[in-house]
Subunit: 361 residues, 2 copies
């Protein structure tokens, strides 16, 4: 038995400097600092916010008092007085997916630097939702859901809360002042079709997302629209045949693919997955049905998530630039928060997707 390993990992059971609960921490207020620093509360406020000249010596006393008492301004009270809450709401429709994971991670990094917290929330469907998110709590809202009703979005934009929309579908009908991040999904989807077409594929199948409620993408969903438009441009058929949508779980999708081939008799030669997960489910399904990928059927996904590289054959996929998107979102929402009045129309940012070629095509 070797025990050398224990030296590798440092054992650290911390020794606490002050073992007593520092109950003080929670009750320190402006008044305490003012007393400690022998100035008025007003001065303390101005020092903290840095929006008025304060005599150098006093300033220093205030700063020392803050440090000494470990004072932290009560965020609630500040927000109540019209200051920002420093909380931004992010509404997502697929929290579980790697796509949002990466995006949120980037946003968090940027947000933290700028002093914001990100509240994450699924796009709940009940009436109450918009009311709840609209209680002056959030400085701004980012909508990254494809299902959020346009009417509700318009209602939020109409109020004066800063909004940034991640353009997963067509938002051109939304009027007013808001931010829009075009992530290049539409052009990316067209490129996917182009790529399959160049490979000689003429009988395509689009695999729409799985959702517990069996929701299918609207026609204004950029990926679906890109698939349609590019197919039409190539004169390829675009019918009910070419889409599987409305599945509520993985087995429904697998079964739908089997039915497409064996019952409907549609022998497709190219699969376009709305995301990598769908593409890989499709790939597994057709392999089970006896087809070879990519010999018989080419498969392409979307998101370029980790799993692409672990599949066999490795999945080609359209990469979305989460890092740039996250940064663009935060810059946009912050400038809307700081200067909403200086904008008179919607502001846009365009990003591009990039095809990562692997062996599934």
């Amino acid at each position: 038995m070797y025990t050398g390993v224990y030296t590798l990992f440092i054992l650290h059971f911390p020794e606490f400097e002050d073992p007593m609960p520092d109950k003080t921490l929670k009750t320190i207020t402006r008044a305490d600092i003012a007393k400690e620093a022998r100035v008025s509360e007003t001065v303390v406020s101005y020092v903290i916010n840095g929006n008025r000249y304060v005599n150098g010596e006093k300033r220093q006393r205030v700063e020392e008092a803050i440090a000494k008492l470990k004072y932290r301004p009560n965020a609630m009270a500040r927000a109540l007085k019209g200051k920002k809450s420093n909380h931004i709401l992010f509404v997502a429709d697929d929290i579980q997916g790697e796509y949002f994971g990466k995006l949120i991670s980037e946003i968090d990094t940027f947000a933290y630097k700028e002093g914001y917290f990100i509240t994450l929330c699924a796009d709940h469907k009940d009436e109450d939702f918009v009311d709840r998110i609209y209680s002056r709590f959030f400085d701004g809202i980012v909508i990254g859901s494809a299902n959020f009703p346009l009417k509700q979005i318009q209602r939020l934009v109409n109020s004066d809360i800063p909004i940034v929309l991640l353009e997963i579908r067509d938002y051109s009908s939304i009027t007013g002042v808001y931010g829009l991040i075009n992530t290049g999904l539409y052009r990316g989807a067209r490129n996917c079709v182009r790529c399959l077409y160049d490979r000689g594929r003429r009988n395509l199948l689009f695999l729409d997302r799985i959702s517990k409620e069996g929701q299918r993408s609207d026609r204004d969903d950029w990926r679906l629209k890109g698939f349609f438009d590019q197919s039409l441009e190539y004169g390829l058929p675009v019918t009910e045949r070419n889409v599987i949508a409305g599945c509520r779980n993985e087995s429904e999708l697998t079964e739908a693919i089997r039915a497409k081939v064996q019952d409907e008799g549609y022998i497709f030669d190219g699969i376009f997955g709305r995301n990598d997960h769908m593409a890989l489910l499709g790939m597994e399904a057709v392999k089970t049905l006896g087809f070879a990928v990519p010999r018989d059927i080419s498969v392409i996904g979307f998101d370029n998530s980790r799993m692409c590289r672990f599949a066999s054959p490795k999945l080609s996929s359209m990469e979305i630039q989460q890092k740039s998107i996250g940064e663009a979102i935060m810059k946009m929402i912050i400038s809307l928060i700081d200067n909403r009045s200086s904008f008179t129309s919607r502001i846009e940012e365009h990003l591009e997707t990039q095809l990562i070629m692997r062996s599934s095509i």
Copy 2:
């Protein structure tokens, strides 16, 4: 060219009921409701909070006024008066991973039902972090990070803010009142080793996580500790040889595996990945080096994420019950928020992992 498809997807460009910005929405306050309902603000408050008897007729007038004016209480003001903010902070160390995605998704569902919002935040390393999260903004804090310094955790527990710890590592040194969710990682990790041992594997390799800062898991990390303890029980070697840790990116890990075999000459026959991602990187690496999985080397992962099924061979993995964990976290934090004073010591909840056998072992 077919156009039948357009009937499939309902075109809905919404018609907005009131095209004018309803600026009113944002200024409705207690006073407005009181005036509209011809009662005092006090009564409005009691109706809303339901904590005092209010004459039936008045109550109704208030409710009608609220509905008519679409009144929403200002969450900031409520929170300032000692009510809850209804925000819970979740501190994670790997926002991108599927593990947290699933977990957060479950938590969100439960939280929404209970009227809470979840703020998600990475475990930022700077001094300021604990101060920032401690500004009376959050009703409770859930810590799901393995890197958060124990001292800081103790500091938070010492203040009176409700805390729930996801037990990714050993927290037995933390004293005071807090919630603890034991997710079964330790027993799960021991089971992984058992499973490899039963398959005849005697030369194991643990692949620790990748982190940008090159951090390696502490010895009190449950997965690592489970790996060590079970190996020791079987009399298997437990040395520096048996662990690859501190890699900052995927290529470093791949290279470390190559070096392990070709430079160090350690021919292992079982890989235990700290999570599926690590396990799959390991699997790819050894395949590249000419080994067959599972003939020469067995591989087991942790998390049972989607990608397990798309790998070849399909990856066996230890499943963590995110759904139950999410529910347990929320129940615990809510009971701590509602009844902190009734608890006198830490409360615990134990969950189990479950091995999902596939063909990589």
